[in-house]
């Protein structure tokens, strides 16, 4: 498995505060993704990156921004957290070659916005 860590693993924050989640990988994978997972909605892509400084929006990007200044780190920022952003957030990575579609997931961050 890819070495993917997420921090923090749990966070409780108040509505209106900015929050940054970090994803760190040690596998030198080019592609990185941020998902949120909610009951009844499955995994939904927030943003993804196809290289350093190359990012694009996913299907639920409103209220989120990302940055990738190094291959190993992909940051997700909730600019002003809302209760609707309470969710479990997963980071994933993928590489090139024969396994190009396989995504490897981090352990997740449980975020609660009160």
């Amino acid at each position: 498995d890819a070495g993917i860590t997420q921090s923090p693993r749990h966070k409780v924050t108040e509505t209106g505060t900015p929050v940054t989640l970090r994803c760190h990988q040690t596998e030198n994978h080019r592609y990185m993704y941020w998902y949120r997972q909610d009951p009844g909605h499955g995994l939904r892509l927030i943003h993804y990156s196809y290289g350093v400084k190359d990012t694009d929006k996913g299907e639920v990007s409103d209220g989120y921004s990302v940055s990738r200044s190094k291959t190993e780190d992909f940051l997700l920022t909730l600019e002003s957290a809302t209760s609707s952003q309470t969710s479990v957030y997963f980071c994933a990575t993928s590489t090139t070659g024969v396994s190009l579609y396989e995504q490897y997931f981090g352990p997740g961050t449980r975020l609660t916005v009160t």
Binding site: Y48, Y101, F105
Partner: protein, 112 residues
């Protein structure tokens, strides 16, 4: 709009039963279909299927893809309580920056 539909949404069986999980897809420029298992944590990769009719097998789990009828099945034989999980199906299409299109998952509960 591309979509992946899994059925059933949930399933309860007894240990030793055989189960079949279904995944249908409508995706432009289809390339591969992937299965993941999610216990109380992150999804973990099971199979990737690219060619029609070729079964992939890992222990008691097997999967096959039908590109004509646009579906895949995941079979689990002699189920165990440790098979209890959500099983996710995802489709990959070409030219999409490796983004996957995910189904909602099938929640499987195996009772002793």
């Amino acid at each position: 709009e591309d979509k992946v539909v899994q059925s059933p949404l949930s399933l309860v069986v007894h240990e030793g039963d055989t189960v079949t999980l279904n995944c249908s897809y409508e995706v432009t420029n289809f390339r591969s279909l992937l299965w993941y298992k999610q216990e109380k944590k992150a999804p973990t990769f099971l199979f990737m299927l690219t060619s029609s009719g070729i079964e992939k097998k890992s222990g008691r789990l097997s999967s096959i893809l039908d590109k004509k009828e646009l579906f895949s099945i995941l079979n689990i034989t002699a189920t165990q309580t440790g098979d209890s999980a959500i099983y996710l199906c995802a489709s990959a299409n070409a030219g999409n920056n490796r983004k996957l299109i995910w189904g909602l998952g099938t929640s499987l509960a195996v009772n002793p």
